[in-house]
Amino acid sequence: MSFEYAPAPESRSVVSIKPKYGHFIGGKFVTGAKHFPTINPATEEVLSHIALAGKAEVDAAVKAARQAYTSTWSKMAGKERGKYLFRIARILQERAREFAVLETLDNGKPIRESRDVDVPLAAAHFFYHAGWADKLEFAGLGTSTKPHGVAGQIIPWNFPLLMLAWKVAPALAAGNTVVLKPAESTSLTALLFAEVCQQAELPAGVVNIVTGDGSTGALIVNHPGIDKIAFTGSTEVGKLIARAVAPTHKSVTLELGGKAANIVFEDAAIDEAIEGIVNGIFFNQGHVCCAGSRLILQESVAEEVLDKLKVRMAKIRVGDPLDKNTDLGAINSKEQLLKIRELSAIGDSEGAQRWSAPCELPKKGFWFAPTIFTGVTQSHRIAREEIFGPVLSVLTFRTPQEAIDKANNTPFGLSAGIWSEKGSRILWASQQLRAGVVWANTFNKFDPTSPFGGYKESGWGREGGRHGLSAYLKGVGHE
């Protein structure tokens, strides 16, 4: 018998995409000068044309943000600012389906994830920070705090709306105004968010959105009218930004790459560990900075875990991201697909054994089957470099200390996972791991109340919780 699931696509009719977009500056949509196409990575269909902001547009956005900061936003009582954030949060919930479908079209991620993770979490971030707006004296910086002023925010393509929420919500709650640039391949939900700002009657210029590529990002980073930079993206670009802002007055937070260790001890609940491994590396096609991309397995259970993992991976449903039963969607761009292929080929040439789930990949669009490499050691490049795709490197260990040593032997330190039914082992291991987030018997769980960020080359500062909020504030006397 076979139980084939008939196609169950979410309807596209809830979104209307314009053929061409401009920028959102000073509360209005303004036309752009140059444009580039944005595509649906699952079909390579051109969805729209996105404006490329140059110096003039970035200048205008910073000016609008400064004007709004000085005249309105910094003078408004916290409880009034909070009302706007609550309003935005509620509108995001009301328009959740629209955002989820648009995110899936533009990004390639499965609708199940945009619907159940990205959009609800984005709304949750606004709700959470709305509550902070009139309680900033409890943010840990003393009873008298000030915002930085104008924040320049540059976000990645893996969670476009959610990363916007991580950036915009705390900035606004703290009293800053923002100039935000979404990633060039995923601008559409940010532009829809601009409509939400209008719908919420947010004062003009509090949120400004300019679209573009790396050159636009550089204009923001180097703009003298910006007081704070917040960036999420690659470690490579993060280092450039750190260098650029070092001689300036700007404060900066960076959320960068990772190569997280997911450690499975022999006393783990194996079936749930398998789910955690799958969720750790195949959630969002592995386009997750905190992905559990290094599986570190105790040798005594390695064979059992790998056998079960392969059976489970064969059940991952790869295909149309709009289908409600899809588990793994499209790779976000051709460029990223080529990078995943290149690093996987290096894994082959270095002698690791590749196994991919036997799934049929669509002919059009950018796809990569869920893949594991076994026989990986610390000196393999696929154990050290971030692949940012659905590719898992599997290493083994003999003793708990060896697991920790391997887990920490990386320039990154964003997240880690521990799988064990033994409480004392979990507590011990989590104290040893040099990673900003340590999950025990779960993985890739996010909450606006929980600070998120990295050790070492995974970043500076935290986002979320009181720690994340404080990055958008300064105690009086710190100017």
């Binding site: 008939a6 006393d267 079936d271 749930e272 789910e275």
Partner: protein, 315 residues
Amino acid sequence: MSYYGLVDGSDASLKGFLKTLSGVDQVGADARAAMLATRSIKTTSKRWAIDTAISMVDLTTLEGADTPGKVQALCTKAVRPDPSDSTVPSVGAVCVYNDMVGIARQHLDLIGGGHVGVAAVSTAFPSGRASIEVKIQDTKDALDAGASEIDMVIDRGAFLSGKYIDVFNEIVLIRELCGKRAHLKVIFETGELVTYDNVRKASFLAMVAGADFIKTSTGKVAPAATPPVVLVMLEAVRDFYAMTQVRIGVKPAGGIRNTKDAIKQLVLVNETAGPEWLTPSLFRIGASALLNDLLMQRMKMDDGYYASPAYVTID
């Protein structure tokens, strides 16, 4: 008996074997079951699932008020669930108390329902609180009356006090009585075992002792066949197959009242144990009200609208 070579029948070997089982993380199991509940089953696959679910129903009446007339009506419904549509499959079996087994068997044979099994609940169902002699006699009565399936309850008191060997020995005894005459389903009453660790442990204990099926509940205790409990049992039969190359069946019972719930169960089977289990010989659903909802949904798929409940027979 060889017990698949996994234990030798002694207390020590049984305890040793149960210790080798990995634990179940409750949060993770709940999350996996919840994720699988989001599967969207539409059109052709929904139609297939409804017919498959009908063929898996153990149509049940377990009331003090059961009479020969009530049981005969149940049997008629079991053979031909929808009198106006002969393409609707018969259910898997009827499930009754042991004094009704003879009446059910006789009536089924009379109306051309020889292919529908008769399952008898046994061993002092539902509590399991009786002497072993009573439990043996209970089972013998059902077998002699023509039961083709025995749904025995385990001694939860013994299980919860750690006397696994007593639970094991009872199953072995009833297994021997059933011989080749009847399939043995072992009911855990998961609502009384409470933890998923216990459910996994009970599953392996019953399978090693010779169960053909493992069954969640009596239907008399809530919660009963919750999706995570069924998930844990499906993982157990899958793992047992990997150890022994023998496929043991699973029967959720209690709380599955509508088509949506039934389809969720089939999705759990499909993505956990695998499609090999999607057959009435390896998966049954113990239910009474479910069948009519399946029939209603089936009519709706054919006609495009919901018919009045008057078009579905009450028994």
